[in-house]
C-alpha cells in the first residue's frame, strides 16, 4: 500500500494524499467544517487537481463502502496470510462464559496464553485496543491476535474459565 501523506492546511483543514501506481496523486482534503473534498491530480502535473468532488459525511461513507470496506480489516487479513505462525480470529462470547461482566484483566488472557485482544466488537460498534479494565459482555466479539494454539486456549478460557 502506498504511504498516505498528511499535510496541514492552516485555516482550511488537513490534506491526506498518496501517489497511485499510475503516477497520479489521489487525496482527500478534510475541511474543518466537516466537508470532505476528494481530488485527483494526473501524472503530467502532479501539483494541480483535475477533478475535485465535494462529499458530505454520508457520501464519504457510501464511497468507502463502494470501494470495499475498511482498509484496517483488509490489512489484518493480509497480516493473517503473510505472517507464518501468527493468527487472527474473531471469538464471540456466548452466554455460558464465566467472564461476562468481568474485565479482560480478570480473564488474564495475555498472561495465560500470550494472545492480545486487539479490539472488541459490541453490536455494530468496534472498541479498538481495549485496556485490561474493559468489561466483557455476552454477545461481544473479541478480535484476538496470537499463535493458533494460544487462540485455541483463549476460546477454552472464555467458555470454561
Amino acid at each position: 500500500m502506498p504511504k498516505i501523506e498528511e499535510t496541514s492546511l492552516p485555516g482550511v483543514g488537513l490534506r491526506l494524499d498518496f501517489t497511485a501506481e499510475d503516477g497520479s496523486r489521489i487525496g482527500v482534503v478534510h475541511h474543518r467544517t466537516g466537508r470532505r473534498e476528494l481530488f485527483v491530480c494526473t501524472a503530467e502535473d502532479p501539483d494541480a487537481a483535475v477533478v475535485s468532488l465535494n462529499l458530505s459525511d454520508e457520501d464519504s461513507h457510501a464511497l468507502s463502502e463502494a470501494l470495499g470496506g475498511s482498509t484496517v480489516i483488509a490489512n489484518l487479513m493480509d497480516l493473517q496470510q503473510r505472517v507464518k505462525g501468527l493468527a487472527i480470529d474473531w471469538l464471540s462470547v456466548d452466554g455460558e462464559t464465566p467472564y461476562a461482566g468481568k474485565t479482560i484483566g480478570d480473564a488474564r488472557i495475555r498472561t495465560r496464553t500470550g494472545v492480545s485482544v486487539v479490539a472488541v466488537i459490541r453490536g455494530d460498534q468496534p472498541h479498538p485496543a481495549p485496556g485490561p479494565d474493559f468489561r466483557i459482555e455476552t454477545s461481544d466479539t473479541l478480535v484476538v491476535v496470537g499463535t493458533p494454539e494460544g487462540i485455541k486456549s483463549v476460546h477454552e478460557i472464555l467458555t470454561a474459565g
Binding site: 485555516g11 490534506r15 491530480c41 502535473d45 477533478v51 475535485s52
Partner: protein, 385 residues
C-alpha cells in the same frame, strides 16, 4: 419624516443596495468588496446620493465590521498552526514582506508623503486578501493542489505580520515622540507574544468556557468577550482589531466550527458596512487624481506578489505550473488593505491615502482573481458539487 424613521429608511436602503450588489458579485463570480466600496463612494459626501442621517450608525457598524473580520481571521488558525507555520515559512514570508511592502512605502515617499503615511501605504500594498483567496481556492478547486500549503502558510505569515503592523501603525498614527511610539510598539509586541503563548498553552480551555450547547449563550459570550478585549486593546492603543484577532486565536478546539457558523452572518453584514463606510468617508473627487498612481502601483505589486509566490513555491519543489498559480493567487488585495488605510484617518500627510487605497483595492480585488482564473486550464478540470 422624523429622525428615527428617516434613519431606518436610509439604513435599510443602504443595506438593501448592498444585498443587490452581493447578488451581482455572486452572479459575476467576483469578490463583492469592490462593489461595496463603489457603493460607499456613491453615497458619501460629493457622491451621487449623499446619505446624512445614518452616517453615525454606519460608523459604529464599520468598527464592528473590523472587529468581526479580525476575530474570524483569528478563529481560522489555532495558536499551534501559527507557531508551526511561522517556523516553516519564515524565509518565504520575509521575502513576501520585503517585496510587497517596499513598493507602497517607496511610492509614498516619491509622492512626498513623509515617513508615517508611506509606512501605511506599504501596509496597504503588502497584505493579500485572505478572504478573496480562500474563496478563490474553493471556487477553482485548488484546495488539494500541492502549492496550496505554501500559499496558505504565506497568508499565515502575513496575518501574524499584520498583528504586529496594526498596533505599530496605530501608535505611529497617534503621533507623539519617537520614544513614546517605540514604547507602544514594544508593549504591543509583548502583549501579542504573551497572548499567543497563552493561547498555545491553554489549548481548548477558553473555547470550552465560552461555548455552550445553546447557540444563544455562545453567541452572546463570544461577542461580549471580543468587544471587551477589543476595547481594552484600543485603550492601551494596540488597536481593537488586534484585540479581536487575539481572541480569535485563543479560541480553539471543536468550538471553532460552531463559532464559524454563528459569526459568519454577522461578519458578512458588518464587514459590508465597513467597506461602505470606507467608501463613504473617501471623497470620490480625489480618485481621478490618484488613479494613475494606483494603476502603476497595481502593476508593480502584482509583479512582486507573483515573483514572491513563485519563489516560495519553487523552494518547496513545486513544478512551473504550480509556481505560476501560487504567484497569481496571492495577487488579490482586499479587506486588510482597507483596514490599514482606515487606521490612517487623521494622520498628517495621509490625506490622499483613502482615495489611493480605494482605487488600488478596486483594481486588485478584481484583477487578482481574474488572473488566477485565466491560469486555470478549465478544459482539463471537472469540478462537481
Amino acid at each position: 419624516m422624523d429622525h428615527g424613521a428617516l434613519l431606518l429608511v436610509e439604513l435599510g436602503a443602504v443595506v438593501l443596495v448592498l444585498g443587490i450588489l452581493a447578488r451581482l458579485a455572486s452572479r459575476l463570480a467576483i469578490s463583492p468588496i469592490p462593489l461595496y466600496l463603489l457603493a460607499g463612494l456613491a453615497i458619501g459626501e460629493g457622491g451621487l446620493v449623499p446619505v446624512v442621517t445614518s452616517e453615525e450608525f454606519i460608523e459604529v457598524g464599520a468598527e464592528l465590521g473590523v472587529i468581526f473580520l479580525l476575530l474570524m481571521l483569528g478563529l481560522e488558525y489555532s495558536a499551534r498552526e501559527l507557531v508551526v507555520g511561522i517556523r516553516s515559512v519564515a524565509p518565504a514570508g520575509l521575502v513576501d514582506l520585503a517585496l510587497n511592502f517596499s513598493p507602497g512605502f517607496v511610492a509614498g515617499l516619491l509622492l512626498g508623503w513623509g515617513i508615517v503615511p508611506s509606512l501605511f501605504l506599504g501596509g496597504v500594498t503588502y497584505i493579500s486578501s485572505t478572504g478573496v483567496i480562500a474563496k478563490l481556492l474553493n471556487d477553482l478547486g485548488w484546495t488539494g493542489n500541492r502549492e496550496t500549503p505554501v500559499v496558505l502558510s504565506i497568508l499565515v505569515f502575513e496575518d501574524l505580520a499584520m498583528a504586529i503592523l496594526l498596533p505599530t501603525l496605530a501608535a505611529l498614527a497617534l503621533g507623539g515622540s519617537t520614544a513614546g511610539a517605540i514604547l507602544t510598539v514594544g508593549i504591543a509586541i509583548g502583549i501579542m507574544t504573551a497572548a499567543i503563548a497563552f493561547a498555545y498553552r491553554q489549548g481548548d480551555l477558553l473555547g470550552e468556557l465560552v461555548f455552550h450547547r445553546s447557540d444563544e449563550v455562545s453567541l452572546l459570550s463570544v461577542f461580549g468577550l471580543t468587544l471587551v478585549i477589543a476595547g481594552l486593546a484600543e485603550g492601551v492603543s494596540i488597536s481593537a482589531a488586534v484585540g479581536a484577532f487575539l481572541v480569535g486565536i485563543s479560541l480553539s478546539g471543536e468550538a471553532v466550527a460552531r463559532a464559524d457558523a454563528l459569526l459568519t452572518p454577522l461578519r458578512d453584514l458588518f464587514a459590508a458596512v465597513f467597506f461602505v463606510f470606507f467608501g463613504l468617508s473617501t471623497d470620490p473627487g480625489e480618485i481621478p487624481g490618484v488613479l494613475l498612481v494606483a494603476v502603476l502601483l497595481g502593476v508593480v505589486t502584482a509583479a512582486t506578489k507573483i515573483i514572491g509566490g513563485r519563489w516560495a513555491a519553487r523552494r518547496n519543489g513545486i513544478g512551473p505550473a504550480g509556481q505560476r498559480r501560487a504567484g497569481l493567487i496571492l495577487m488579490a488585495r482586499g479587506e486588510f488593505s482597507i483596514i490599514i488605510a482606515g487606521l490612517a484617518a487623521g494622520v498628517d500627510g495621509a490625506e490622499e491615502l483613502p482615495a489611493l487605497a480605494a482605487a488600488y483595492v478596486l483594481l486588485m480585488a478584481v484583477t487578482g482573481p481574474l488572473a488566477a482564473k485565466l491560469a486555470d486550464p478549465g478544459r482539463r478540470r471537472a469540478t462537481v458539487g
